[in-house]
């Protein structure tokens, strides 16, 4: 079977993309994910200036995944260049996605331009980090107007394919997605971690995360992500589905809901980069069993079955 897909004009050897914020903090580990079978890797979000992020604990498990509040730690776009080039050198034909974040709209233009200069295949705008509200205020992606301004600023800085990473925490994700596309985004990614949520340690009688709240990921959010993908796919632009998927059939589910590709994150905590090879093999096996020859055949199938009626 042919696992390759096209995303905004870029060919990926398979639809599994490393989600931003997981593993991709350095060029070496990003390259390792590609070598382990990722179809593309998204680096951890980078801003104009270096950031240490939140003190620990930054991660806490719950029954169905994780809460995290790493706090956008990153070396800044200048030093990040070394990480990007290390991955490019290690895997010259690997598909690299640079994720950028900013807390002021006008910074997206410079960031996008500087990310563009590195030569990534795709640029992702992180408009939806749920664990920096104390410093940055509400994530852009909760609001169509704020999203439109941020995407328009980034669009002015690059001609490369631009993905807007959204959150299903938004009251109306379709309005936000439409605003992003209207401002020039080429594709949408849904969903970032949800919430934020909170975990309280009952022995210590206080929130575990130093930031108190953190983004909720893992199996629990998958059905919400599938719903968001379904809704966004109705807008007609490519959608990357992300949220709690950990098996080949979960990938097929996202594709059938309308995703052109998927991102993988939390499940790698248990098995590391090897998860890519396993999930890709499971997807191939599912496609073989069901008689599909290429991934593109799965995209939007569940929508066709129901004539694409809105969810």
């Amino acid at each position: 079977v042919d696992l390759s897909v096209e995303l905004c004009g870029v060919r990926l050897p398979n639809p599994l993309v490393l989600a931003s914020g997981v593993l991709g903090a350095t060029g070496a580990i990003a390259a390792r994910c590609l070598q382990a079978g990722a179809g593309a890797v998204t680096f951890k979000s980078v801003g104009l200036e270096p950031r240490t992020g939140h003190p620990g604990p930054v991660l806490v498990p719950y029954e169905a995944g994780w809460l995290n509040a790493v706090g956008l730690s990153n070396p800044g776009i200048e030093a990040f260049g070394d990480e990007f080039r290390a991955a490019r050198t290690a895997v010259p034909d690997g598909v690299l996605v640079v994720s950028v974040f900013a807390h002021e709209t006008d910074r997206f233009e410079e960031l996008a331009a500087r990310a563009d200069a590195l030569g990534p295949e795709l640029i992702e705008l992180n408009l939806s980090c749920p664990n920096v509200a104390d410093e940055f205020g509400r994530p852009f992606a909760l609001d169509p107007a704020a999203t439109k301004r941020a995407v328009a600023a980034a669009r002015a800085g690059t001609k490369r394919p631009l993905l807007a990473k959204l959150t299903a925490t938004a009251p109306d994700i379709v309005a936000v997605g439409a605003a992003a596309l209207d401002a020039g985004a080429d594709g949408l990614v849904a969903t970032n971690t949800l919430g934020p949520g909170m975990a309280v340690d009952v022995r210590r009688r206080r929130p575990v995360l130093s930031n108190k709240v953190g983004g909720v990921s893992g199996a629990a959010i998958r059905p919400i992500a599938v719903r968001a993908v379904w809704q966004l796919a109705g807008l007609g632009a490519p959608v990357v589905g992300v949220g709690g998927l950990s098996t080949g059939e979960h990938v097929a589910e996202m594709l059938m809901a309308g995703a052109a590709a998927v991102q993988v994150g939390s499940c790698l905590a248990e098995e590391g980069p090897a998860g890519f090879g396993r999930i890709a093999a499971e997807l191939a096996s599912f496609m073989h069993e069901e008689g599909y020859g290429a991934v593109a055949e799965l995209v939007g199938l569940a929508r066709a079955e129901t004539e694409g009626r809105p969810a």
């Binding site: 903090a25 390792r32 992020g53 790493v70 290390a86 206080r206 905590a269």
Partner: protein, 260 residues
């Protein structure tokens, strides 16, 4: 499955050296391995990795070097401590006639390993080195068949470094493998000495960790992307030889490369 946080009580705080403290807790982790570590949480102060110095009961050796470690050393028996453990990959089950080489407070996980050797009836030799006598930890009650100490200034044991002594020991009767933990420059020299003697070695590495469970990628080393928290902290000498940044640089909290 990733270990959850458990809250235990401190049962004893003993002097491990002039300044370092041995913390004993009222819990055991029978499934842990020497070389594995815990993320210790001090609410309001953060969460940091510490090697297990013992697992039954759970013990840590802490040198007061920053706010976090000073607060740990200031804990009193009866107070609570919250840990995620055991994390990472530890030392292999010891075989042969191991030589354990520890630098300063870095010797902590080797105490746990020496105790395991003793329990398994394996004859291990420990070489504990430090700059000065007051930096050596737990030398008066170190487990294992034989122990010697070195200090840079000769204030205790042999004057010189633990690696000088390792070379002499390996040049004598056949011994190995070598298990080591300490400052990275020392580990580099240990790896070279073991290599020259044709002996296997395992080294316990240290990098800035955030999640401790292989999710955030912050502790990945160049160029292989080895995750110190999940693939390590203990790695073989052969694995270490592939790590360009070993002995050269590390990354700070933001992920910027800084010289060791």
């Amino acid at each position: 499955m990733t270990p959850r946080q458990v809250t235990l009580r401190v049962t004893a705080v003993e002097a491990a050296s002039k300044n370092a403290r041995l913390l004993r807790l009222d819990g055991a982790m029978a499934h842990a391995r020497p070389g594995q570590f815990a993320m210790i949480w001090l609410p309001g102060r953060g969460e940091k990795p510490f090697s297990l110095a013992g697992a039954d009961p759970l013990e840590f050796v802490v040198e007061p070097v920053g706010d976090f470690s000073r607060a740990l050393c200031a804990l009193a028996p009866g107070e609570r401590l919250t840990v995620r453990a055991p994390l990472g990959h530890g030392f292999s089950t010891p075989t042969g006639q191991p030589v354990l080489v520890g630098g300063g407070c870095g010797a902590a996980p080797l105490r746990y390993l020496a105790a395991e050797c003793e329990r398994l009836g394996i004859s291990c030799h420990s070489i504990l080195g430090a700059a000065t006598a007051d930096r050596l930890i737990l030398t008066d009650r170190w487990p294992g068949a034989s122990t010697e100490v070195t200090t840079d200034d000769g204030s205790a044991g042999t004057r010189g470094t633990c690696v000088d002594r390792l070379r002499q020991v390996l040049a004598g009767e056949p011994r190995g493998p070598v298990y080591a933990c300490g400052p990275e420059r020392m580990l580099q020299a240990v790896a070279a000495a073991a290599d020259e003697a044709g002996v296997e070695c395992e080294l316990s590495l240290e990098r800035y960790m955030k999640c401790g469970v292989g999710v955030c990628g912050h502790c990945a080393m160049d160029p292989t992307g080895l995750l110190v928290c999940a693939d390590g902290p203990v790695v073989s000498g052969a694995t270490c030889r592939c790590l360009d940044e070993f002995g050269g640089y590390k990354r700070d909290g933001a992920g910027r490369r800084v010289p060791l």
